[in-house]
C-alpha cells in the first residue's frame, strides 16, 4: 500500500491537484478515473500514514479522505493535516454511521460525501469546496465588534489576534459578517457557503458554526457573538 501508484499522477489541462486516500482498490480506481476525466490531477494512496506523508510533502488543492483506513484512520489524518494546513478536506463516509459525519466535520473537514456516491456528485462536491477556498475578488475589510475580516488576504482577527480558520469557517464568518444582525437560514448558508443548490444536510452548518464559535467566542457554550435564532438559523451580533 505504501508503494505509490506508478501512474497515479497524470498531467491534465487544469492545475487542480487532488489527493485521494481510500483503501478499497476498486473505489480508489474508479474515483481516480472519474476525477481525471473531470480534469483534475489525481494522486492516490490506500493508507492513512502514507496519505498524510503525501499531503505534507506535496501541495494539494483538495484532499479526499476515506474514514476507514489502514494504519491511521481518516479522522486522525484530517486532524494532522489541519494542524498546519487549511487545504479543503472532503470526507468519504458511509451513510451507516451518522456519527461519522459529525466527527469528520469536527476533525476539521469542510464537507463529506456519503458512500455510495455517483461520480457526478463527487466531482460537484470537489468543485464546490475548491470554489469556496478561492480568494474573493477585492472586497473591503469587514469590522464587526472586535472582529476584523479581510477577504483579500483570507485573514480574520479577533481584537487584533489572528484567528486560524479553515476555508469553510472563513467563508461562513465572512457571509455572516457581510450583514451583521441579519438572520441567515441554514438553507441560505448552505447555498452561499457550501454552494449547494439542493437540499443539503443542515448538520454541515451546525457543526461549522460550533467550530467557528470555539475559535471566536470567549465562552463557546454561551455564545454572545454568533447567536442561534431558534427555528430559523444564525446571526452575527452587531457588537
Amino acid at each position: 500500500m505504501d508503494e505509490p501508484d506508478p501512474d497515479s499522477t497524470l498531467p491534465t489541462s487544469v492545475d487542480e491537484r487532488v489527493l485521494l486516500v481510500e483503501d478499497d482498490p476498486s473505489i480508489r480506481e474508479v474515483a481516480a478515473i472519474g476525477l481525471k476525466g473531470a480534469g483534475f490531477r489525481v494522486t492516490t494512496s490506500g493508507d492513512g500514514r502514507d496519505g498524510l506523508l503525501r499531503a505534507r510533502r506535496d501541495p494539494f488543492d483538495v484532499v479526499l479522505l476515506d474514514v476507514m483506513l489502514p494504519s491511521l484512520d481518516g479522522f486522525e489524518v484530517c486532524r494532522e493535516i489541519r494542524k498546519d494546513s487549511r487545504v479543503p478536506i472532503v470526507m468519504l463516509t458511509a451513510r451507516t454511521d451518522t456519527i461519522d459525519v459529525v466527527v469528520g466535520l469536527e476533525s476539521g473537514a469542510d464537507d463529506y460525501v456519503t458512500k455510495p456516491f455517483e461520480m457526478a456528485e463527487l466531482i460537484a462536491r470537489v468543485r464546490a469546496v475548491l470554489r469556496r477556498s478561492a480568494a474573493e475578488p477585492a472586497e473591503r475589510t469587514h469590522s464587526v465588534g472586535g472582529l476584523e475580516i479581510d477577504p483579500g488576504s483570507f485573514a480574520a482577527r479577533m481584537d487584533g489576534r489572528e484567528l486560524s480558520l479553515t476555508a469553510t469557517e472563513f467563508k461562513l464568518l465572512l457571509e455572516l459578517a457581510r450583514r451583521p444582525g441579519q438572520v441567515f437560514t441554514r438553507e441560505l448558508l448552505l447555498q452561499r457557503v457550501w454552494n449547494y443548490e439542493y437540499l443539503g444536510d443542515s448538520r454541515l452548518v451546525d457543526v461549522a458554526i460550533q467550530r467557528l464559535r470555539s475559535k471566536v467566542e470567549a465562552d463557546p457554550a454561551h455564545p454572545t457573538l454568533i447567536r442561534t435564532v431558534r427555528g430559523v438559523g444564525y446571526r452575527l451580533e452587531r457588537g
Partner: protein
C-alpha cells in the same frame, strides 16, 4: 389481564371469619351447656334442701296442731317456728285466705300448687315477691286439713347463677376476640406466600424474568415456590435463547449489508462512469451497459434499505430534532425527486419540532410509493390535528385488497409478485420504523379500484432551549417576541 377483579385480602378475611365462627360457636355451646348443667344442679339441690327443711317444719307444725283445729294462738305459734329460722311461711286453713308469718311477705299461692297440695301432696312452685325469688313448698300439716306453705329465699341462688352467666358471656366474647386476632394472624401468615407469589408473577409478566420466590420450609408453599422458580428459570432461558437468536439474525443481516457496502460503492461509482460513456459504446454493448447501470441502482437501494433497517433494529438511529417546515420539506422532496407533475401538496403544518432526516425519509418513501403505484393524482395533505402533525398521502392507484393490507408493512412483502416494482421491498417497513422512532403512528386505508391512503400522525413537542433567540419569521405559530433574548 386478569388483574382486574382480584381483591387482595378477601381470602384472608374469609379465613378469619371462619376461624372466629368456629371458635365462637364451640365456645358458646360449651358455655351454654355448662351454665344449664350448673343451673339445673343448683336448683335441684335447692329443692332437695327445701324438702328436708319443709318436712321438719311440717312435723313441728303437726305437733303444734295435734289433730285439733288450729286457733289464732296455734297459728301464731305454728308460724313462729319457721320464721325464727329465717323461713317465711303461709298458713292456710280451709277456704280462708292465707295467714303470712311476716305481714310483709304475702305472695299469692299459685292455683295449681293449691290443687296439688289439696290432693295431699308435697309440692313446690317458684314465685317471685317484692323482687325476691322464692321456692314455695307446701303440704298439708300432718294430722290436719290445714296447709302450710314455706317460702325459701332463692335470691343467692339466682344471684350466683347470674354471676356465672355473666362470667361465661364475658369469657365467650373474650374467646371470640382472641380467635379474631389469632385467626387473622394465622391467615396472614398462611396466605403471605400467596401474596408474594402473585407479586412475583406480576413482575414476570412485566418482563422482570429474573424474579424468583424464596423457598422457605418444606410445606406445600415451599414446594410450590420451587416449581414456580423452575418455571421462571425455564421461561428466562427460553426468552434469552429467543432474543439471542433474534440478535444473531439481526447481526447477520447487518454484517451482510455491511460487507455488501464497499463493493456496491465501487459498483455505483463504476456504473455512474459507464452511464456517462454510454454514447461511445457499440450498439450491442450499450444495452447491456444500460442494464448494468439500472441493476446497480436497484442493488444500491436494496443494500441501503437493508442497512437502514438493521440500524433501526439495533436502535442505533439517533433522533435529532430541530424546527422543520413540513410543507417546505414535502415540496423539496417532490421537487428534488422529479415528481412535480404527478403530485399535489395541500395544507400547511407550519414549523414543527422533529427530526428532519427521519421525516424526510418517511415522506419520500410514502410519496415515492404512491407515485409508483398510483401514477397520476397523488395528493399530499399536511395539517395539525390537535397537538399532532398529520400527513396524508393518497393515490388513485389500483388499491390493495383487504387480504394484503395487514401485511403491507412487513419486510419484503409484495402484495402482487407480478407487479414487483423498483423498490427494495423494505420501503414501508422503513417508514413504519421511522414513524415509531419519532413516536408517531401510521395507518393505511385502501379500496380496490379507488386508491390507497397512508396517514401519519406524529406528536409534536417543542422544548425550549436556553440561550436560543426567537423571532417571528415565516412561521405563523412561532413566538411573537422578535429578537427577545432567552435566559442564561
Amino acid at each position: 389481564m386478569p388483574r382486574r377483579g382480584v381483591q387482595p385480602g378477601r381470602l384472608r378475611r374469609r379465613l378469619t371469619i371462619a376461624f372466629v365462627l368456629v371458635a365462637g360457636i364451640s365456645a358458646g355451646a360449651l358455655a351454654l351447656g355448662s351454665y344449664l348443667l350448673v343451673r339445673q344442679a343448683r336448683m335441684d339441690d335447692s329443692v332437695g334442701r327445701a324438702k328436708t327443711e319443709a318436712l321438719r317444719e311440717l312435723r313441728a307444725a303437726g305437733s303444734v296442731v295435734a289433730g285439733a283445729p288450729a286457733g289464732a294462738f296455734e297459728v301464731q305459734n305454728l308460724l313462729a317456728g319457721p320464721e325464727s329460722s329465717g323461713i317465711h311461711a303461709l298458713f292456710v286453713a280451709g277456704a280462708a285466705g292465707p295467714t303470712p308469718s311476716s305481714p310483709s311477705v304475702d305472695p299469692a299461692i299459685p292455683a295449681d300448687l293449691r290443687t296439688l297440695v289439696d290432693r295431699g301432696r308435697l309440692a313446690y312452685r317458684r314465685v317471685a315477691f317484692g323482687g325476691t325469688p322464692y321456692l314455695m313448698m307446701g303440704s298439708r300439716i300432718p294430722g290436719s286439713t290445714d296447709e302450710l306453705y314455706l317460702l325459701f329465699d332463692e335470691h343467692s341462688l339466682f344471684h350466683d347463677l347470674g354471676v356465672l352467666r355473666d362470667v361465661l358471656v364475658l369469657g365467650w366474647v373474650g374467646v371470640i376476640l382472641v380467635a379474631a386476632v389469632v385467626g387473622r394472624t394465622l391467615a396472614k401468615e398462611t396466605l403471605e406466600p400467596v401474596g408474594r407469589a402473585s407479586e412475583a408473577a406480576r413482575h414476570i409478566a412485566d418482563g422482570l424474568l429474573d424474579t424468583r420466590l424464596e423457598v422457605s420450609g418444606g410445606d406445600e408453599f415451599g414446594a410450590w415456590a420451587a416449581s414456580f422458580n423452575r418455571m421462571a428459570e425455564a421461561l428466562e432461558a427460553k426468552v434469552a435463547a429467543l432474543s439471542e437468536a433474534q440478535a444473531r439474525e439481526r447481526r447477520f443481516t447487518s454484517d451482510v449489508a455491511h460487507e455488501l457496502r464497499t463493493p456496491v460503492a465501487a459498483l455505483v461509482g463504476e456504473a455512474s462512469l459507464l452511464h456517462e460513456h454510454l454514447d461511445r459504446m457499440p450498439e450491442d454493448a450499450r444495452r447491456l451497459a444500460e442494464l448494468v447501470v439500472h441493476d446497480v441502482a436497484r442493488l444500491r437501494r436494496l443494500v441501503e434499505d437493508l442497512m437502514e433497517i438493521s440500524r433501526l433494529d439495533a436502535g442505533r438511529e439517533p433522533v435529532q430534532p430541530e424546527m422543520v417546515d413540513v410543507a417546505n420539506l414535502v415540496k423539496g422532496v417532490v421537487r428534488t425527486r422529479g415528481w412535480l407533475s404527478g403530485v399535489t401538496v395541500e395544507g400547511d403544518g407550519g414549523a414543527v419540532w422533529t427530526d428532519r432526516r427521519r421525516l424526510e425519509r418517511v415522506l419520500a418513501n410514502l410519496v415515492g410509493n404512491a407515485v409508483e403505484h398510483g401514477r397520476r393524482g397523488v395528493r399530499v395533505w399536511i395539517g395539525m390535528v390537535g397537538q399532532d402533525l398529520v400527513v396524508e398521502v393518497s393515490d388513485r392507484g389500483p388499491g390493495i385488497s383487504a387480504d394484503n393490507l395487514p401485511h403491507l408493512f412487513e419486510r419484503f412483502y409484495k402484495s402482487d409478485p407480478a407487479r414487483a416494482g423498483g423498490g427494495s421491498g423494505l420501503g414501508l417497513a422503513i417508514v413504519q420504523e421511522n414513524v415509531r422512532l419519532l413516536g408517531g403512528e401510521i395507518e393505511v386505508r385502501s379500496e380496490v379500484g379507488v386508491g390507497t391512503q397512508f396517514r401519519v400522525v406524529l406528536p409534536v413537542t417543542e422544548p425550549l432551549r436556553a440561550g436560543d433567540v426567537t423571532v417571528s419569521a415565516r412561521t405563523d405559530h412561532e413566538a411573537q417576541s422578535p429578537s427577545s433574548e432567552g435566559g442564561t
